[in-house]
Every structure is written in structure tokens, then in C-alpha cells.
Amino acid sequence: MRLVFEKRNSVSKKAIVLVPVVSFLVSLILTGILLIIFKTNPFITYSSMFVGAFGSWINFTETLVKAIPLMLTGIGVGLAFRLRFWNIGAEGQLVFGGVAATWVALFWSNFLPPFLVLPTAILMGIIAGALWAGIPAFLKVYLKVDETLVSLMLNYVAILTAQGLYYGAWIDPKGMGFPGTKLFPKSAWLPRFSGRAHVGLFIAILLGLVMWVVLNRTKWGFEVKMSGHNPRAARVMGVDIGKTIITAILVSGAFSGMAGAFEVTAISHRLQQGLAIGYGYTAIIVAWMAQLNPIASLFVAVLMAGLLVGGDQVQMMMGLPAAMGIVLQGMILFPMLAGSLFTDYRLKIITKSTKEEAA
């Protein structure tokens, strides 16, 4: 008797839902073991993380604040991953979006009518994110340059550009040398609805739904799925894969750029340290755990945001490092990846009798 893996004809529906759930539980257990090693009670830690993130409306609004950029970047990264285009540059695309929105908010508000400042800032953020993502996309399609490294390197370039601006050219002259631009005019503030939670939430949710419809009900969505899943067949059917990649990656970057524009116009109201705090990397976990489904990404984003806020809480309450939440997040993908074998393959036990049957 021996065990073999047999490729499934179709992806298992049950496994698609089960694998992320089980993976999350496994990551809780693994991190729990780690906590015990560090002489900390995992149950108390987890419950205070949970209370910290979801325990009250005020705490929950903070979770939503972090969920919004994760939703947007998660949907964007998920779209790129569908094409097997490994865009790990969401962080830089977000920062560049934030920089562009800041530019509008600081320098265009003098001559734009007030009601146009905010929409223009967000629009410029979207365009900047798209263009920043466009660099690896063009290099990939026209020169076959590896997109993983290019998109990642551009993160550093974007972050350093932003730093150069808020430490240098754009620094607030009245800020006593504090690194950051001056406060945006009120006309560039994205409205908040409760605590720091802002209307970007509704836009993100709406875009998640729209993205799902586009992917599942339009010709372009079909072409994206096809080009990623089976490029040879897509080519035979007359799909221009290069064009599909470029349009999809521009959209992918646009999502992250929008996230960056929201961060500066709704949260900080200026460009300063703390824009690049890893949302673009967590987006990879969001996208993969949501199995690249934009609607699922919305929910996973809230969960991941909860881990971040919970991590901050246990730092304040129990003196544990805030990186706790990030460790938990990092652990999730391991069981997830191991489990993906079961969505594509089934375990088969070969005994003598099955062998004879096959013969």
C-alpha cells in the first residue's frame, strides 16, 4: 500500500473554503506555541487582541481604518496574481499614490475650485499608482524583464522619494524641522464617518463588488482569467496577452494608488513618516488567503487589519511586541500553501487491489 497524489479534474469547492479557515487556525496554534515558549499565555493574548480589534465600536473603527488600504491593495494584488504577474510592489504604488495626492492637495488648491481639490487629489493618486505599476508591466511585456524584482525595487525608490520630499522640498517651514509637509487645506480632506474611519470604506467595498462582476461577467475578466490560467489556450483564442497584462496591472496599481491617496487625505492630512507601514506586503497575504477573489478579499482585509490593531493593543496592554500581529499574519501562508495541494490534488491510497483494477 502506498499514498499518491492524483490531480483533480476540477478544483475542489470544499477545499477552497476549508483551506483558508484551517490555515488561520493552524497559524493561531503555531503562534500560540511560540507565545508559550516566551512564557506568555496565548489565550489571554488572543482574547486581548480580539477585544482590542473588535471589542468596541471605537476599536472596530480603528480596525476599519487599517482594513481600507488592505482591501484596496489586496484586490489590486489579487488581480495581478490572477495573471501570474507577481506584483509585490503594492507598497510603492501606495506611497506614490500618496505622494501624488499630496502634490495636488498642497499646490493645486490655490487655483482649483474647492470642490474639485479632493477628487483631483484622489484621481492623481490613482494615476500615479497605475503608472508606478506600469513600469514593471511594460518591462515584462516588451522586454521580458522579471516583474517580481522590478516591482519590489520600485518600493524602495518610492519610499525614498517620499522621504526626500517630506524631509526636503516639501517640508513644513513652520514645522520646527519635524519631517512632514504642512497640513492639507480642509478642501482636500476625505470625510470620516466615525472615529478615523472614512468614506473610503464604502468605495473599497463597492469596488470589490464591481471587480467581482468584471472578473466573472465581462469579456475582459474572462481574458484575464484565461491568460493567467492557460496562456496557450488564450493565445489560440486570439487574446492579446501582453495588452491584457498591461491593462490589468495598471488597474492593479490604481487600486494601491487610491489606497495611498486615501491614507494622506483621510488619515494623516499631510505627507509624513508612517505612510509605508507594510500594507502593500500584507496585501499579498490578503490576496492569497482570499484565493484572489475580490469579495473574499474584503473580509480577509478586515481580519488582517484586526490582527494589526490587536497587535498594537497587546503591545500597550501586555508589553508584547506589536510585531505579534505580523508574526501571526506571516504564519498563515504556510499552512495555506501546504493546503493548496489538496485543492488541486486528491490523496489516493494505492493497495494491491486498486492496482489490479487499473490493470
Partner: protein
């Protein structure tokens, strides 16, 4: 002038050492057909574990061993996921980096002594110091080659050894066969999975050593993100060296050289803005990648293993 050249060469080698360890490690891993994008995470974990060990025991040797063990553990996870579980290697590597980055930062805030609020940041531990080789270290300019720490001297030996092993031994031939055509290697009686496990783990060990060099010699101590993207630059360096260990030196010298020049310029107070200067390594990486890819399309073959990042399953095409 000579003094300036010597100092640039000295800093280049010091900065290049960690890159060379990691580049050779990843070359071996990729040659077996496994792409490991977890370098950044493994280097950070190597750096933090090495520094914590040296802080408490004072033993540099033990610190290196602990870092290597960390590399073994993390690369085993990647090997298990990508070889046994046939997971997507890009995502598996990314998750090693995400986990390693987060966990290293966690440990940096947890492993320290109580007096420092459990932080490792800001502590001083034992470190590798340059060892002068008599006579040779007195040479003009080139003397810098012989006034380095032990880890750099080991690099001088590892580069030819890694080249010899890969191209002149049976085991090296098997390794290349597995990366080029696992089907053929399997038919030749080579255990594909075993070879891939061995070199993924060996590679991870070297990568973590590269990380340890950062916290024990190049920038002694621990800070979050001490690697500053070196793990990713190394992945580009593997392409730059065309998967040949003997060429790993050039990429490392190029990037070590950029570091050295940044160092000098910043020390002398330049008019070039600091952020622009700091961007240089990342922009050069992109330029190098574009150039290498362009050369590949011209010459058809740069040396990427044929079966890189393709999971192997018997009887499946």
C-alpha cells in the same frame, strides 16, 4: 588617492561579503530548480539570531552556528512546501520573507535583556574585527584585500570551491541535471526530491550566514530591517552572475562598491541629496536586470536553469 582607493576597496569588500554568501547560496538553490524568494526574511533571521547569541554568549562561532541553523529551519519550510507539497514557489518564498521579517522584528523586541525593555536594539556585542595578514596587508591598494575579517577570508575560499564543486564533481553534475531536466535526471537514477532538498537547505544556510555577517561585522548590532533589501538585490545578483558561482564576485563588488561610494560621499558632505544616493542600489538593480534580460534575448541563453520554479512530479508533464 591611493589611500582613497584602498579605503573604497576595503568598504566594498566588507559590504560585499554578505552579498557573496547569499548569492552563492541562492545560486545553488536555483540550480536545483527551486526558486527561493525568502532571502530577505532568512537574512534578517540570520542576523537577529546571530546577534542575540553573541550578545549572551560572546561566542562568534556559536553565533554563526545558530544563524546557520535558522537558515536550515526556514529553508526547510520552503523546501517542504515547494518540493513535497508542490506549492507555488513564488508565494512560498514571499511568505518566508513576510514571516521572517515580522518574526525577526518580534525577536528584536523580545530577546533583549530586561534592563533594555527586552529590546535588542542599541546593544553592543562581540564582533568580527579585521585580521591583518603580514606583508600582504602592506601592499598599496590591494592590501585592503588582506585586512578583512575572517568571514571575508572564507569568501575567498568559498568562491573557487563552489565553482569547482558545481562544474568539476559528479555531485555538481547531478545538481545541474536536476535543475535543467528533472525528468532526465530521474531516468538517470538521481533522486530529484532529495537533491532539491539538499541544495535548498544548503543555500538557506549560506544566506543566513550572509545575514549574520551584517549583524556581527558590517553593522554590528541589531536594527529592524538591517538588510535594507539586500535579500532582494541578491536575487538580481544571481541573474547577474548567470548562475555561475565564480561570477558572484562581480555583482557583489558592484553593489558593495555602490555602498562604499555612498559612504564616502556622505562622509565628505556632498550636494547630491541623500535619498537620491540611497536609491542608487535599487535603481542599479533594475538597470542590471533589464540589461541581463536584453542580453539573454540576444544570445538566447544566459544560464537560467530550465526547470527553475517548476515543481516536479513523476509521470506528469
Amino acid at each position: 588617492m591611493i589611500a582613497l582607493l584602498a579605503s573604497i576597496l576595503a568598504i566594498t569588500l566588507r559590504a560585499g561579503t554578505s552579498l557573496i554568501y547569499a548569492t552563492i547560496g541562492e545560486i545553488y538553490t536555483e540550480r536545483s530548480g527551486i526558486l527561493n524568494l525568502g532571502l530577505e526574511g532568512m537574512m534578517l533571521m540570520g542576523a537577529v539570531s546571530a546577534f542575540a547569541t553573541v550578545y549572551y554568549t560572546g561566542s562568534l562561532l556559536l553565533a554563526l552556528l545558530v544563524a546557520m541553523l535558522t537558515g536550515v529551519v526556514l529553508s526547510s519550510i520552503h523546501a517542504f512546501l515547494s518540493i513535497t507539497m508542490r506549492a507555488n514557489q513564488v508565494v512560498s518564498g514571499l511568505s518566508i520573507t513576510l514571516f521572517g521579517t515580522g518574526f525577526a522584528s518580534f525577536l528584536g523586541q523580545r530577546l533583549g535583556p530586561e534592563s533594555n525593555g527586552h529590546y535588542l536594539i542599541g546593544l553592543i556585542g562581540n564582533k568580527f574585527t579585521p585580521v591583518k595578514i603580514p606583508f600582504l596587508s602592506n601592499l598599496p591598494v590591494l592590501g585592503a584585500l588582506f585586512n578583512q575579517d575572517i568571514l571575508t577570508y572564507i569568501v575567498y575560499l568559498i568562491i573557487p570551491a563552489a565553482w569547482f564543486f558545481m562544474y568539476k564533481t559528479r555531485a555538481g553534475l547531478n545538481l545541474r541535471a536536476v535543475g535543467e531536466s528533472p525528468q532526465t535526471a530521474d531516468a538517470m537514477g538521481i533522486n530529484v526530491s532529495k537533491v532539491r532538498y539538499i541544495y535548498t537547505i544548503l543555500g538557506g544556510t549560506l544566506v543566513a550566514l550572509g545575514g549574520a555577517h551584517l549583524s556581527l561585522s558590517y553593522a554590528p548590532g541589531w536594527t529592524d530591517n538591517i538588510t535594507g533589501g539586500r535579500g532582494w538585490i541578491v536575487i538580481a545578483l544571481v541573474i547577474f552572475s548567470m548562475w555561475n558561482p565564480s561570477r558572484a564576485i562581480w555583482g557583489a563588488l558592484l553593489f558593495g562598491g555602490i555602498n562604499a561610494i555612498q559612504f564616502r560621499l556622505q562622509a565628505t558632505g556632498t550636494t547630491i541629496s541623500a535619498p537620491l544616493l540611497n536609491m542608487l542600489p535599487y535603481i542599479v538593480t533594475i538597470v542590471v536586470l533589464v540589461l541581463m534580460t536584453w542580453i539573454e534575448t540576444m544570445n538566447k541563453k544566459v544560464g537560467a536553469p530550465e526547470a527553475l520554479a517548476v515543481p516536479y512530479m513523476r509521470g506528469e508533464k
